[in-house]
Amino acid sequence: MCSHLTEKASVSGSGKGAGGWFRLSHAVTYFDHPYHSPYEHTLNIDFVNETEGPGARVAVELTEESARALVACIESALGAARPAMRDRASVAPPERA
């Protein structure tokens, strides 16, 4: 079914879309019908900059299993990062939009 449930977080960083690199403002996340993937529901993430129009978007569609594996990878990568590597400006967690 179309779940309509959507999570949105303010994020800082950059993404590369069809038009090249751009600064990100939000990550919009939902578990729902994909546009491209051949599955019923996927974990979909739209990395966007809301001030640059709908084309400023990097989209991924992952199976639930893949999405959970990605979460584990992200946690692992951040856990392995030495404190000296961390950019002080990026230390604060993203705010829920």
Partner: protein, 247 residues
């Protein structure tokens, strides 16, 4: 054999006099033809929806698929427009109905239109097909596994998504409902509840439930595709529209 047709993007006037685009597929011979409005699901104007629209033209209908996400991202690619619409909270019911009225007016303005209009929707489009049939005078409506027609939406759902069962008394036309027995939104119990209400109100309807099929069984490019249910479903759809949309 196969019918000659054209398929192109057109502009029409929708809700609040906004101009929006639509995919319009039609036979090239003289007609007259019945009109079918194809209501896309939340992912929007994807390839499956375009193929479905052309299928109706091949069967002798003027088939119009409005881009309900147009306002959220004018000129954007369909997937970017769908994403922008979702981020904005989805398509409001009132705006959707205004766009439907505009789409009907567009069809009725065509010399080759026979005056009859039907709607068909899949998934969230199925819910919207039911909403349209209960709010606008139509000749036929097809609801393919539309969720959230019956029952309260779960917490966190956008306020746009509200149940519609109370509108059943206003159903303006015969309704064909196609559902998978393994679906949970709508569940078999929810389909039973909708059917019981239509019977209580004396509304003309025809429901079919497919064993071994869940949500989205018409989606040929997805794992939930069920060819037996889909082939029989298409036969039922064209039989139904043939009865109510002929000139």
């Amino acid at each position: 054999m196969y019918r000659s047709m054209t398929a192109e993007e057109i502009r029409f006037t929708g809700d609040a006099d906004d101009e929006l685009n639509a995919y319009f597929a039609r036979p090239t011979d003289a007609g007259p033809f019945g009109g079918v409005i194809v209501i896309h699901h939340m992912p929007g104007w994807d390839e499956q929806t375009m193929e479905i629209t052309r299928r109706f033209a091949d069967r002798g209908y003027l088939a119009l698929c409005p881009n309900l996400h147009h306002r959220d991202a004018p000129g954007a690619s369909p997937d970017d427009a769908a994403a922008a619409s979702r981020a904005a909270g989805g398509v409001p019911d009132d705006r959707f109905l205004g766009d439907m009225r505009g789409a009907i007016s567009y069809l009725q303005s065509l010399d080759e239109h026979n005056g009859k209009v039907g709607v068909i929707g899949f998934c969230s489009g199925g819910r919207q097909a039911f909403l349209a049939a209960c709010s606008i005078e139509l000749d036929a409506a097809v609801d393919c596994y539309g969720g959230f027609v019956v029952g309260d939406p779960p917490p966190g759902m956008p306020v746009n998504i509200r149940p519609l069962l109370h509108l059943a008394e206003n159903l303006s036309c015969p309704l064909l409902g196609l559902f998978g027995q393994d679906d949970q939104h709508p569940s078999p119990a929810e389909v039973d509840e909708l059917e019981a209400e239509l019977k209580r109100l004396g509304k003309q309807h025809e429901f079919h439930r497919f064993d071994g099929a869940g949500h989205g069984f018409f989606a040929a490019d997805r794992t939930m595709y069920r060819p037996e249910a889909a082939v029989e479903g298409w036969r039922l759809i064209f039989s139904f529209f043939g009865r109510y949309l002929a000139g």
